[in-house]
Point group: C2
Chain length 428, copies 2
């Protein structure tokens, strides 16, 4: 699509001139998206795509109730939290009731990166340490501090000397029985190593679906041993729910499935169905200690419009029963994909929870096959189905549709994947 003659090629050239090298596009042939509705996106030629990728539009693209809440509030008032406002209080109340009682305070930001960044600032203040533990291909965001503990950004972004990246669980290659203990033991070793270097560990950040580590959902509860290690070492557990939260896993929060009791929880993307909202939820004794000393004011975090949008998203999740739908359709989708796996050994494993699904694409020896995964992503795109890859070898198909996905949509996805697999075999 580098054809400068076509409108899309022309747009791509204009894009390069103003946005430059930081900006990358999905797919060998990028898609010019012009409209979204529920689980569908349309391109400039009117072609419809089944969106099985975009978790941000969590309750569906352009959801009427969310758009109305946005438009109505924006027409009346959009201001910050230094004035008393009912909207942000009501939103915080609505949000907090979805958490265990111990997590009783909210700080609102505009992005998930900002949420993880303030969680780190808070962890440093309340523990007096600055050491951070993460998984080996973690992604927690793009601020300077958070990028330093996001190894998935690659070698160009150096991890800080205060960061320890612990080998992530590999639920395909490690035994289900031993994986939780192995991971916990490695975390304990990393804590000891930080201390041996004179660094006090402040927090471990865990994406509760380990999305960028390849969607390592594993067996419910397998992250419990890590929590025990952290608790006994006095290291805070930050559950990063930017990917897993808001019903994605068939639970409201990913940490619930593992029976975790995090000290802090960070929120992002799907919180506003695309409207920029993020947040930090935590125990009041931690949150208030930070609040009293360092304070925290995010000019448009928790603004009147964001609060109205956030409330609408929670209302829609509840009324449309999207947490249960995520669980049920996710189970059905995995059953269809496992059926396909029985005929297609390049699918090494079908895993996930709710509507967060990972397909481990492997070669004949069970090794990660990122090239084939890339072909499948582009093959699905040409069949009108949008997914992408993840994991340290980019060989895991990441399937993460809006939570309104139905069994019929799951069938379309599974059928298109089977076709893409067959075509890819013919080519290779």
């Amino acid at each position: 699509m580098n054809d400068e003659e076509s409108p899309a090629g022309d747009l791509e050239a204009r894009r390069g001139r103003v946005l430059g090298a930081s900006y990358r596009l999905f797919y060998d042939e990028p898609i010019q998206v012009v409209r979204g509705e529920d689980v569908y996106l349309w391109d400039a030629d009117g072609r419809r795509y089944l969106d099985a990728y975009n978790n941000v539009a969590s309750v569906g693209h352009s959801h009427g109730e969310v758009v109305s809440a946005l438009a109505e509030q924006a027409a009346v008032l959009n201001t910050h939290t230094r004035y008393l406002g009912a909207e942000v209080v009501e939103y915080a109340e609505d949000l907090i009731v979805t958490f265990p009682g111990s997590l009783d305070r909210v700080v609102l930001t505009c992005t998930g990166s900002e949420a993880n960044d303030v969680a780190y600032r808070l962890a440093k203040v309340v523990t007096g340490g600055n050491g951070v533990l993460v998984t080996s291909n973690a992604y927690h965001g793009v601020t300077d501090a958070v990028a330093q503990f996001s190894p998935s950004l690659g070698p160009a972004v150096a991890p800080g000397p205060h960061v320890r990246a612990v080998r992530a669980p590999d639920t395909y290659r490690e035994s289900t029985d031993g994986i939780g203990q192995r991971f916990a033991a490695d975390v304990a070793t990393a804590i000891d190593d930080l201390r041996a270097h004179g660094l006090r560990p402040a927090a471990m950040f865990i994406d509760t679906v380990l999305s960028s580590d390849g969607v390592q959902t594993g067996k419910a509860g397998y992250l419990r041993p890590v929590q025990e290690v952290l608790q006994s070492a006095g290291v805070l557990l930050v559950a990063d729910e930017v990917q897993a939260g808001f019903g994605r896993t068939g639970h409201m929060w990913g940490f619930e499935r593992h029976g975790l009791e995090p000290d802090l929880v960070t929120l992002g993307k799907p919180m506003g169905n695309g409207h920029p909202i993020g947040g930090l939820v935590g125990r009041s004794e931690l949150m208030d200690e930070f609040g009293r000393t360092a304070r925290y004011f995010n000019t448009y975090g928790g603004n009147t419009v964001s609060a109205a949008v956030g409330r609408a998203v929670l209302r829609v999740i509840r009324r449309q029963g999207l947490v249960d739908n995520s669980a049920a359709v996710g189970t059905y989708l995995r059953s269809r994909l496992r059926d396909l796996q029985s005929r297609q050994p390049v699918i090494g494993q079908v895993r996930g929870e709710g509507l967060f699904v990972g397909l481990e694409i492997v070669d004949a020896d069970g090794r990660a096959d990122g090239d084939r995964a890339g072909h499948l992503v582009n093959g699905l795109r040409h069949r009108g189905v949008l997914v992408n890859t993840t994991g340290p070898h980019a060989n895991v198909l990441k399937v993460r549709p809006p939570l309104t996905f139905s069994a019929a949509h799951a069938d379309v996805l599974a059928d298109a994947l089977e076709e893409a697999l067959l075509e890819d075999f013919k080519r290779s």
Copy 2:
């Protein structure tokens, strides 16, 4: 207003329970704002306030064209920049034409903090250093990295060892002739000091109105000597236009007034008239070097809706002639305030540029009088006019209304200030 019986008191108590200690309210008696239109805010009792403070609602509260752009785009599509989209390209093009030709690339974020944070990441990558210079009471944002070079956050947020806070110009107490040279000499000393400590200086961040240093607009061009020092030392100049940008000073950008040629420019708040958008504009050789190596993807930075809102704001600024209005009404407002100053010596200086005005409130000996400034802020609030304070001693009245402010509004503000001053004298 801690009366638990009243609706506002009840709301404040509920607020404390869910938002906790990080959240502060303006004014001795906080205002429950329920509606905004143009330069006015209304409280829950229907009382109208003249907003002379909120620069974020830069083109006026709830501006119809901006709200329509938001609502219309949100109803059609809200997605990210990994798909090809005309909206973000058109917005970036509209934005870039407002800058000198050398500043030809845009990276979009969701907040001004994120913009300064990515500017710092970029400066580190392209210079190989990590040293930062700022003014002594600078505010550049709340991410971990940026908070470390925002001394105005107070002693609870420790400046990083790689940060040098240079004594800010004090345009009331320093001579107009020598101030630029004195400031430049101090910056040169700070650069030497960083080097003496083995640190390579990467960038100096300058808010081009020095807002948190007390609105030190000074004489046009007085920041030129600093730029010469930075250029000869190979230190990047980051013009932080989060406060000064988008017509606030009667120029589109604050750096224009000083004849500066910044390497990077950071944008925030007024960019979306309250919708969370921020951005970084810079020279392509810097921007692309960072983009090629570290990359940068901000999930909802430059999303379709933010781009539509950003375009609408630029359109309104242009069509309503708000840059010129800011210049003209700002000049008139300062003339009214200088007239008042001639009768009220507690106003030590009336300064500013365009609709960013600072009033230095002093005691009989010309010393900063933060207590009196606080009384005046609350006195104005009770007269239905909203302002606040700034500066290291919180003694500078910060006047920063929407750019649609008129001469009639300026009269209301000046008259209310005179009344508040008279009342304050009676009390003291």
